[in-house]
């Protein structure tokens, strides 16, 4: 890998990291959901800095051209991100259910209390 390619890759990674950090600062991303993206940055840095190792791993698992190994990694990473998003959605779904149910029960209680209040007021008048 030429120095020029390595340099452009590093610049790309730097921008990606900058975007993540700025989103974090603006609180548009929760830290606990960002860890997986930071992990991706680490992976990308690793690949940009020691391309020879990537070549060796690719060779080891039987992939002829290292670039295909990089594509494969990308695919695996995207799958992982989507899976973790599905986990988050399911979890939130559960919490929304409980929220809606509790809200409905509270609303019934408010109605009952209002009714009781009206009756008591009428009695005291």
């Amino acid at each position: 890998m030429s120095i020029r390619l390595e340099f452009s890759l590093l610049i790309g990674i730097f921008f990606f990291l900058a975007i993540i950090i700025s989103l974090l600062k603006k609180k548009k991303l929760n830290l606990k959901y960002t860890l997986v993206w930071l992990l991706a940055v680490v992976g990308m840095l690793f690949a940009a800095l020691c391309p020879s190792l990537i070549g060796k791993i690719a060779n080891f698992i039987g992939i002829v051209t290292p670039i295909n190994f990089v594509f494969m990694l990308e695919g695996v990473f995207v799958l992982f991100i989507i899976l973790s998003l599905t986990v988050i959605v399911s979890h939130q779904n559960e919490r929304i259910y409980r929220l809606v149910q509790t809200l409905a029960i509270l609303e019934k209680r408010v109605r009952e209390l209002e009714k009781k209040d009206i009756i008591e007021n009428e009695e005291s008048e």
């Binding site: 259910y97 809606v100 409905a104 029960i105």
Partner: protein, 239 residues
């Protein structure tokens, strides 16, 4: 024994008055309508007639609605809950029989089945085929013969109600609730009842959805079987 009848209702403006009237013949039971964010006038009818109801602010589906009822029962300290559909398919006269079975024979859940004595409305052949397939899957999952797993007519004991208020399947809950109850060590029994055809409105399940339903239910039951392995037993409260 404080008993609560939970009536899940979604777009049941045509049926809900008949259903509540049939239950009001038994004043010893309390009832609660769970309006699952109906798009029609269900909630207006409840207000106008001064019915007991809770109204979910967004649509959760039958599972979430029934669970809201269980939650309400736990909060108000009811000893027995009966799930009773809001579409007029169930007959209130069987409630007493179900509760008696529940109490006298110490069961945690009693399900009303229309296929034991095969009287009354028997549903279409297609749906019966599906129900029999579910029966087969449940038998394989937890070695329990349930003839009418999709029946939404069921009575639950206090500890069963508490269990369901925290663990209740959401998508297609009736068969999954049976599997989770049996695998968690609760006693489940079916007794024969007679059901009616829906008196108004349309059923929420049609043919293409039924096939999808079957695949999904069978899969989820099997996954349930794999994931639970009786570990839930620890969660059962000692009373």
């Amino acid at each position: 024994m404080k008993t609560l009848i939970i009536i899940p209702a979604y777009n049941e403006e045509k049926n809900i008055e008949n259903v509540v009237n049939s239950i009001m013949k038994y004043p010893k039971y309390d009832y609660i309508i769970v309006n699952d964010c109906s798009k029609d006038k269900t909630v207006d009818i409840c207000k106008k007639n001064n019915y007991n109801y809770i109204s979910l602010p967004s649509n959760l589906g039958i599972g979430g609605g029934v669970q809201a009822g269980y939650l309400f029962a736990v909060e108000r300290g009811y000893d027995i809950t009966v799930q009773f559909d809001g579409d007029g398919q169930h007959n209130a006269e069987y409630i007493e029989k179900m509760i008696n079975t529940l109490q006298n024979e110490q069961f945690d859940m009693v399900i009303g089945s229309r296929f034991i004595e095969k009287n009354g409305f028997q549903s279409s052949g297609m749906r019966r085929l599906g129900i029999n397939l579910i029966r087969f899957v449940i038998k394989g999952c937890c070695n329990k013969d349930i003839t009418d797993a999709t029946s939404g007519f069921r009575a639950c004991s206090k500890r069963m109600t508490e269990f369901f208020s925290t663990n209740y399947a959401q998508d297609y809950p009736e068969p999954e609730a049976i599997v989770s109850a049996v695998l968690s060590g609760y006693n489940v029994k079916e007794i024969p009842v007679v059901m009616n055809e829906r008196s108004g409105g349309i059923s929420s399940i049609n043919l293409t959805r039924s096939i999808y339903y079957m695949i999904k239910v069978s899969l989820s039951l099997m996954i349930y079987r794999l994931s639970i392995r009786k570990r839930e037993e620890v969660r059962i409260y000692e009373h």
